[in-house]
Structure formats: structure tokens, C-alpha cells
């Protein structure tokens, strides 16, 4: 169902989709994770689908997969601020691990 929604904006690491009542921001690096719960993301203070990723030690960490920004309170430019912050974070991580050869 979410797959069919129109994409308003996309980056290397995110989509923003046009839901009926929400602008939905998706983290592309979390694709395929099982949704274990939907609850408020404390950082962004909006409802989010959450899953769990296990680290090298086996410890599970809750991660948000997609965030639902109510159209009553947010417009696209406000959601874009969060999307661009996410894009910047992942771009920086990629440069640390797989820097492009500019020589």
C-alpha cells in the first residue's frame, strides 16, 4: 500500500511520499526490516514505524523505518529539513567507509 503512494521527493537515502493525511518520510537504508511497533519517535516527535537491528554483539537497537508527519502540522519544506539531515548523516558515513577516488 505504502509502495503505491506518489513520491514527492527522493534522495540517495530517503523518500518522501504523499499519504492521505501524512507526509511519510522513509529511510531507504532500513528497507526490508520487519515493523515491530508503531510509536512516537522521541527525537522528531511524530509517529514512526520501528524495527530492530542487531549489532556485532547481538544487542538489538530500535530504529525508525518511516515517519508520519501529519499534514495538519507539517508541510513539505518542514519534512525536507529532516530528510536533508538524514541524507547528510548517511553521506558522511559513506564517505568514511567508501570514499570516492577523486585523483
Amino acid at each position: 500500500m505504502l509502495l503505491d503512494l506518489p513520491v514527492l521527493k527522493k534522495g540517495s537515502f530517503y523518500f518522501i511520499k504523499d499519504g492521505d493525511t501524512d507526509l511519510i518520510m522513509e529511510d531507504k537504508t532500513k528497507r526490508g526490516l520487519t515493523i515491530k511497533e508503531t510509536s512516537i519517535d522521541e527525537k522528531l516527535n511524530v509517529k514512526a514505524d520501528k524495527g530492530m537491528i542487531h549489532d556485532m554483539d547481538g544487542i538489538g537497537h530500535w530504529v525508525s523505518i518511516r515517519w508520519y508527519f501529519s499534514k495538519n502540522y507539517y508541510d513539505l519544506s518542514q519534512v525536507m529539513v529532516h530528510a536533508e539531515a538524514m541524507e547528510k548523516k548517511y553521506t558522511k558515513l559513506r564517505e568514511l567507509t567508501c570514499p570516492e577516488d577523486n585523483d
Binding site: 532500513k30 528497507r31 526490508g32 526490516l33 520487519t34 524495527g51 530492530m52 537491528i53 542487531h54 549489532d55 556485532m56 554483539d57 547481538g58 544487542i59 538489538g60
Partner: protein, 281 residues
């Protein structure tokens, strides 16, 4: 008809009525103790953290004899102690630890049928109090290599009619569609698929969906024998990192009584990463 070795299982009801004592220890084995043991565990249970306590901290291997002896000492276990294991993730890691205990010759060992899953379904109590253990002196036996398969053992039995490989992973992993679910980004391999000739009998086919307890012996026999996994063969179980396969190893060796079953703990994260290893899809 009962299991070949019914003495290796206890049920949750028995554990709830028989708290651990000087001669009997209860040990929770977790893959994720932060979301398991630390949030709550059965009263009197100590913790074995699979990653920290059962694996060598540097080399990819299980702990050596000396490390095992230190772990037993820390948990107040002597060679004569009756040990009951249970844990998170459907008892996969409890089964792995059962396998390691047997590898180092511990005799009096049981698994709580259903693990944390069944305990929680029954709304039984947990505590966050951690028991104080008195250190013991533990002298382990030399490793029983008859329980463990290495890469060269697997290579040697490829194509042999008197041997059979049991791949206990999901069908999607077996077919090579995925190498690991996205929840486990550290457990991927360079190639997807399975060891040539292996039978796909997922671990979950050995348990009851509702509560994670083991299926009855007749159902288990049907599950394995119908796919050519019979007691007259040399059986090797594998999965991705060796924990789900130790669960099926436990079923075949102790519940069905197969005489020759080994766990290949290197599993797909070893086989699927080695250059030149044959892979079937």
C-alpha cells in the same frame, strides 16, 4: 512413544517449582541480553551471553577448554552440577551452549522446553535481581570432536550416500534469495545459496508454533526421515552462524537419538565466504 533422551528436557512448570540450589543451576543464554536477561529473568538464573561468553573475543571460534572452565567457575558450576539452560530467540543460543557444554563433557544438562517464549506466554514471573555465585573449580573434559563439523569435514562428505547435510535456514536463505535478514547486517556472506546436496529442513519445523516447545517424537521422525535424514547416516547440520543448527542438532541427537550428528558452527558465514567453495542455488 517418548523421546530417545527425555531426561534432557524440563518444562516451565517444573522450573517454576524447583528453584536453583547448590547442586542445580539455572542459566539463561541470550543473544541479546539487553532486551532479555537485563529486562527480567527467572529468579536465580545467571546469564551466559552468547557473544561475550561462548565465543573467543578475537578469533572466530568457540571458547577453548580453559575459557570454558573459567565460565563454569564464574557461574558456580562444578562437573557434577545439574544445569538447566533456557534463553531468548526460541532457545537457539541455549541449544548452542548445550552443544558447547557437551563438547567439553558436561553430563548433567537440560533445556527448559519453550525457553523465554513459553515462560512469557504463561505470564510467569521475572526478576531483575542477579544471583551471587560462589566460584568453583571446574576441570573440563578434552573436546569431543565427534560433535563438531569443520569446513574440511563438510567438503569431505559432499556427494557421499552415507552422509547427509541438513540446512536448517529459511527457504529464502536456502535458495539464495537472501543471505541474512536485514535485522542482522553483520551476518551476511559473499554468496547466497546452499551447500550442494543439502536438504532444507528449517529449524522451525521441529517446534510447535504456539509456544516454541519441541514437537512430538512421531512428528519429528516424519519431518526428518521423509527427507532422507535417517539414523543410519552421518548427519551434519548447519545454518548461518551455527545457533539454529545446534537447535536441530539437539533434536536429532537427543530427542530422536541419532548416533552420528554434528553441528557445523562455521555454517553459511564460513562456507558462503570461502573462495572456491561450491554453491548450489
Amino acid at each position: 512413544m517418548s523421546y530417545a533422551h527425555p531426561e534432557v528436557l524440563v518444562d516451565t512448570e517444573w522450573v517454576s517449582k524447583n528453584p536453583p540450589n547448590d547442586n542445580m543451576k539455572l542459566v539463561e543464554v541470550d543473544y541479546d541480553p539487553v532486551n532479555g536477561y537485563q529486562k527480567g529473568h527467572i529468579s536465580g538464573a545467571s546469564l551466559i551471553w552468547w557473544k561475550r561468553d561462548i565465543n573467543d573475543p578475537v578469533t572466530r571460534d568457540i571458547i577453548n577448554k580453559k575459557q570454558f572452565e573459567a565460565l563454569m567457575s564464574k557461574n558456580g558450576i562444578t562437573p557434577d552440577t545439574e544445569v538447566i539452560l533456557y534463553g531468548d530467540f526460541n532457545n537457539w543460543f541455549a541449544a548452542f551452549v548445550f552443544w558447547v557444554f557437551k563438547y567439553y563433557g558436561h553430563e548433567n544438562l537440560k533445556i527448559m522446553n519453550g525457553g523465554r517464549k513459553k515462560w512469557e506466554l504463561e505470564n510467569k514471573n521475572y526478576t531483575t535481581d542477579e544471583p551471587q555465585m560462589t566460584q568453583t573449580t571446574y576441570n573440563a573434559q578434552p573436546p569431543d570432536e565427534g560433535l563438531r563439523a569443520y569446513l574440511f569435514d563438510v567438503s569431505r562428505i559432499l556427494g557421499r550416500e552415507d552422509s547427509v547435510m541438513v540446512d536448517v535456514r529459511s527457504p529464502a536463505e536456502f535458495s539464495g534469495e537472501i543471505t541474512a535478514p536485514p535485522e542482522y547486517p553483520m551476518e551476511h556472506a559473499q554468496r547466497g545459496g546452499h551447500i550442494p546436496g543439502a536438504n532444507n529442513i528449517p529449524w522451525a519445523t521441529a517446534v510447535n508454533d504456539a509456544d516454541g516447545t519441541f514437537k512430538a517424537v512421531e512428528e519429528l521422525k516424519q519431518n526428518y526421515e521423509s527427507k532422507g535424514v535417517t539414523p543410519d547416516k552421518d548427519v551434519i547440520c548447519y545454518c548461518r552462524i551455527g545457533e539454529r543448527s545446534s537447535h536441530s542438532w539437539f533434536v536429532l541427537k537427543y530427542l530422536l537419538g541419532y548416533p552420528m550428528v554434528r553441528n557445523y558452527d562455521g555454517s553459511w558465514t564460513e562456507w558462503g565466504n570461502m573462495i572456491g567453495n561450491p554453491v548450489e542455488k
